[in-house]
Symmetry: C2
Subunit: 201 residues, 2 copies
Amino acid sequence: MQVVVPFAAGEPKTRLAETLTAAERREFALAMLDDVCATIRSTGREPQVLTTRRIDIDAPLAVDERPLTPAVNGVLADGDPTAIVMADLALATPTALERLFSADGDVVLAPGRGGGTNALVSRHPQFRVDYHGTSYLDHREIAREVGASVTELDSHRLATDVDETADLAEVLLHSEGTARDWLLDAGFSLSVTGGRVSVTR
Amino acid sequence: MQVVVPFAAGEPKTRLAETLTAAERREFALAMLDDVCATIRSTGREPQVLTTRRIDIDAPLAVDERPLTPAVNGVLADGDPTAIVMADLALATPTALERLFSADGDVVLAPGRGGGTNALVSRHPQFRVDYHGTSYLDHREIAREVGASVTELDSHRLATDVDETADLAEVLLHSEGTARDWLLDAGFSLSVTGGRVSVTR
């Protein structure tokens, strides 16, 4: 099974603009990508980074300038068993990814918070993705249409993509990777107020 | 193993005040509690509701007016194996709870978003809770201090407590219980904008 990590190299993590400068967002996004690649390797697999432009990272690159959905569907069109793992899953562990990779089902979906699909496995040659909107529900429907069985992979670590400031708290709470180190070096720490824990800088 | 569901009957779900009236919050909180109790029963166990005052629900009640932490520690002081499952885990399924109940470890912790502890199992007579602040990290530390082994239960369904408006989207996306029906009857639906899916009413 090939394991593909899409990466938008242009202007990553725009929803962190209130917290990080453009240069910082690029650095932080690359740190998370590094962590995700290392975690995939820890499961005994080799990640392939599907990037919109050439980047400096120690992993096999495939460059595809198209948006996420057509680029991933270009990979799935090969018909080979494929895992797609988002590049901002800073909380992913080998255990969580191994649960994904080894789950039964033609299509295995790890929902992200807010209706996204943060990671998936497709073993069905006709399954395709559509990352716009409530992609988790759409992917279930697409699988149904092509007759593919669907397994839900229930993981907080894989459900937590790091897009917004509040998500940085999850990285500080649950990650031990370079992305967490980057946040600490940048002066972030957990902030305990009412309700959920957030971050301050 | 006893399975205890704490419930704050006084003024539940205050962080949903921007979206729901006080009466609606009470109704919705009871619908979630109903769902959680039914899900526990589906695993073959009987829930005990630990409530701050008498409520009208079809489950064995224990009334304890104290705040969450001392009330739960009063239960744990018995020394019996105990699971504590929060009453607002509207996404919980029998599969997710069975993973929790059957996980190895003196203490099993299911982290909630933002550093909370949404569900746990304690099989160690000296383990106690402290739900204030980053309780997930604190519970790991408390377990270490008493020599209890800790297992992390990695579940998006158990990590998702329903406290804020954005959490309602998770209920509409992933639940099939009475809490979801309640939201639909109250006029909520998914709203697809940029980024994560939210709700409108």
